[in-house]
């Protein structure tokens, strides 16, 4: 059993607000329950410890993809470890996926037996870190095709979240699924009681029901043509090809654009979270 006493949500330039702040709030809500500050009933379990931090790899303000500026709780020091390292998605994920320092932080955590979680295009970051292997994952539609083309196991019917405790990998879709995926993660690692308290705080149980206690979330609708269109549009930004790799052809023969470009047009808008 992995005892969870600390969680870090990784912040970086142009991270998605929804992908990062939503899980951060859910985890901090869980911390209130774990430490006994929220106790809707007399709990038999003694108050415990859960340290939740929004971290970055360098000091200073993090500017998110919609312009929200956030001061991280701390900049990660070498050797610093958290029981769960949560990697959100966002427009900046493509750049992060080539940042060896961040990739090393992820590798170091996984090698030390910690849990790696990610959502949306953040799933691309953890695959680039090499910690996923053939573990089934889910992710935002915009990077699903790209990840599959790299051999990542993204089941055709995407699920809102996929938890694989034995591999210590927990992934969620884009922003719509981030909430459910984070609550399900809490329910799994901190227990059904804490998961329920959190899900009642944020209305998840009413919206999703008992599936929050499962390792696999609800199935998403598939819209093949639309997904392909958005993959063409966002893929090169959210999941750029690793340097030196042959170009990944698009479904209709288009080549991936340079970072920040999609189909020859600059991408100034935010990616789907």
């Amino acid at each position: 059993m992995t005892a969870i006493e600390s969680i870090a949500v990784l912040g970086y330039e142009k991270v998605s607000e929804q992908d990062s702040i939503t899980p951060l709030e859910i985890f901090r809500g869980a911390a209130l329950a774990v430490t006994g500050q929220i106790a809707p009933w007399q709990r038999e379990v003694p108050p415990g410890k859960l340290d939740v931090k929004f971290v970055s790899v360098k000091p200073g303000v993090v500017t998110m993809q919609m312009g929200t500026q956030v001061v991280p709780d701390m900049a990660l020091e070498d050797g610093e470890m958290f029981d769960i390292l949560y990697v959100p998605g966002g427009v900046g994920s493509g750049a992060v996926a080539t940042d060896e320092r961040i990739l090393n932080v992820i590798r170091r955590h996984h090698e030390a037996g910690k849990v790696i979680a990610a959502n949306c295009s953040g799933v691309g970051i953890i695959t680039r870190a090499g910690v996923v292997g053939d573990t089934p994952v889910t992710c935002v539609a915009a990077v699903a095709r790209g990840l599959r083309s790299e051999g990542v196991n993204v089941p055709a019917a995407r699920r809102m979240w996929i938890g694989r405790p034995e591999q210590r990998i927990w992934t969620s879709t884009g922003s719509y699924g981030v909430h459910g995926g984070a609550v399900a993660l809490v329910a799994h690692y901190l227990g059904r009681e804490i998961g329920t308290i959190v899900s009642m705080m944020f209305d998840t149980l009413g919206g999703l029901g008992d599936v929050i206690y499962e390792l696999t979330g609800p199935e998403f609708y598939a819209h093949d043509e639309l997904e392909a269109t958005f993959q063409d549009y966002f893929e090169s930004m959210l999941l750029p090809q690793p340097a030196g790799d042959p170009e990944r052809p698009g479904p209709n023969g288009t080549s991936p654009a340079a970072n920040g470009m999609a189909n020859g047009r600059p991408v100034a808008i935010a990616a789907p979270g």
């Binding site: 059993m1 009933w41 007399q42 038999e44 379990v45 003694p46 901190l190 059904r192 009681e193």
Partner: protein, 384 residues
């Protein structure tokens, strides 16, 4: 209402394997919290051999076994018993887990009043006044009933957790402690339930009896042993015994007389651990040193026990040995050092002024008309 569920507590559908682990950590704190109370009473006896001393000591020894059993169950389920940061609050209401909330726990010498408290800790539900039965966990047994029910309801997950194991050690199996290890042909769920039976039967008795079952040699329960001291008579069920009730209870204790022991009249420990008194005591430096030496031994024992479960496996046995050595040290430091120091009579005269909030408790548990001595505080310096 499902078995084990008490109104206002964690809803039974959320009591899965994580809850069981957490509740076991509370049970660990619960078992531990009884021991300073029992020890303070035992240390206060002048002669450390006579039946009164041996009765309390026998209970104390079994409480250690109970704590070890809980620690081993928790470790078997993949948890890591947290011992070194346990710090029960004395004086204060109730036991960990909000068990017996009507009880006021105070470190005090043996007395009729303190014996009522010690009996209260071990009281079976059917001997508890009805007005006290409404608490979520009015008795220790009820808390274990909740764990028992959750273990049964989550049997498959419990078996899987035991099969997977965890980082913590099983401790003391070769000393007769209950240990839970995967064994061919043995069901860990049954073993866990039997360990819980041992705890509740030795504490409160079996069924409507003040004795354990045959598995534990029909020994007298802890409740019965404390009742023997309170009534000053050995347990002896009368011929044609009436049903055991609160009203008939005393008739079960008409065996051989137990002569009241000589008690060192220690001052019930106030919330500040005597700090206020010590500021006015000319012997403050020496007394403080003895009190701190005791607390250091107590802390070392807690750290050693923690290490026995959570340290390297090859260090488990030496760590347990270290804990036992510290237990002996605690007895010596308390009885031969701390209790030699009398609290200056002028300070006792001013006790109501010095402790306006705690005076009544101190006066209830210590005979302030007689010479008064210091007693051990049980401060765990390793606790946060």
């Amino acid at each position: 209402m499902p078995a084990g569920y008490r109104q206002g507590t964690t809803p039974v559908q959320f009591r899965e394997i994580n809850w069981i682990r957490g509740a076991l950590q509370t049970a660990l704190a619960l078992e531990h919290s009884t021991m300073p109370l029992y020890s303070a009473a035992m240390y206060s006896l002048e002669v450390q051999n006579y039946p009164s001393y041996n009765l309390i000591r026998s209970v104390l020894m079994e409480e250690m076994l109970h704590m070890a059993a809980v620690g081993n169950i928790l470790a078997a389920l993949g948890g890591s018993p947290r011992i070194k940061d346990l710090q029960p609050r004395f004086p204060g209401p109730g036991l960990p887990g909000q068990v017996a909330p009507d009880l006021f726990c105070v470190l005090a010498p043996l007395s009729s009043r303190q014996l009522q408290n010690l009996m209260r800790i071990e009281t079976p539900l059917y001997l508890l006044p009805r007005r006290l039965q409404g608490a979520a966990y009015a008795t220790v047994g009820q808390f274990y009933d909740a764990i028992r029910a959750a273990v049964t309801a989550n049997a498959a997950a419990v078996r899987q957790a035991v099969a997977e194991g965890g980082p913590a050690n099983q401790v003391g199996g070769n000393l007769g402690y209950r240990s839970i290890v995967p064994r061919r042909g043995a069901d860990p769920v049954e073993e866990i339930l039997r360990a819980i039976d041992m705890i509740t039967e030795q504490g409160e008795g079996s069924g409507a009896r003040l004795q354990t079952g045959r598995d534990f040699q029909n020994d007298h329960s802890h409740y019965a042993r404390f009742a023997e001291l309170r009534y000053g008579r050995r347990y002896s069920a009368p011929a044609g015994a009436p049903p055991l009730t609160r009203e008939s209870e005393e008739s079960y204790f008409r065996g051989d007389e137990i002569t009241p022991p000589v008690v060192i009249n220690t001052l019930a420990v106030p919330a500040d651990g005597y700090a206020t008194i010590l500021t006015g005591d000319p012997q403050s430096a020496m007394v403080s040193q003895e009190l701190k030496s005791f607390d250091a031994a107590y802390t070392a024992m807690m750290v050693a026990l923690d290490d026995a479960w959570k340290g390297a496996p090859e260090q488990s046995w030496p760590s347990l040995g270290e804990a036992v050595m510290q237990m002996n040290e605690m007895r010596v430091l308390s009885c031969f050092n701390i209790m030699r120091y009398q609290v200056p009579p002028d300070l006792i005269d001013r006790l109501a002024t010095l402790y306006p909030a705690g005076y009544q408790t101190m006066a209830a548990y210590t005979d302030l008309s007689q010479p008064v001595f210091y007693g051990p505080r049980f401060i765990n310096m390793a606790a946060a």
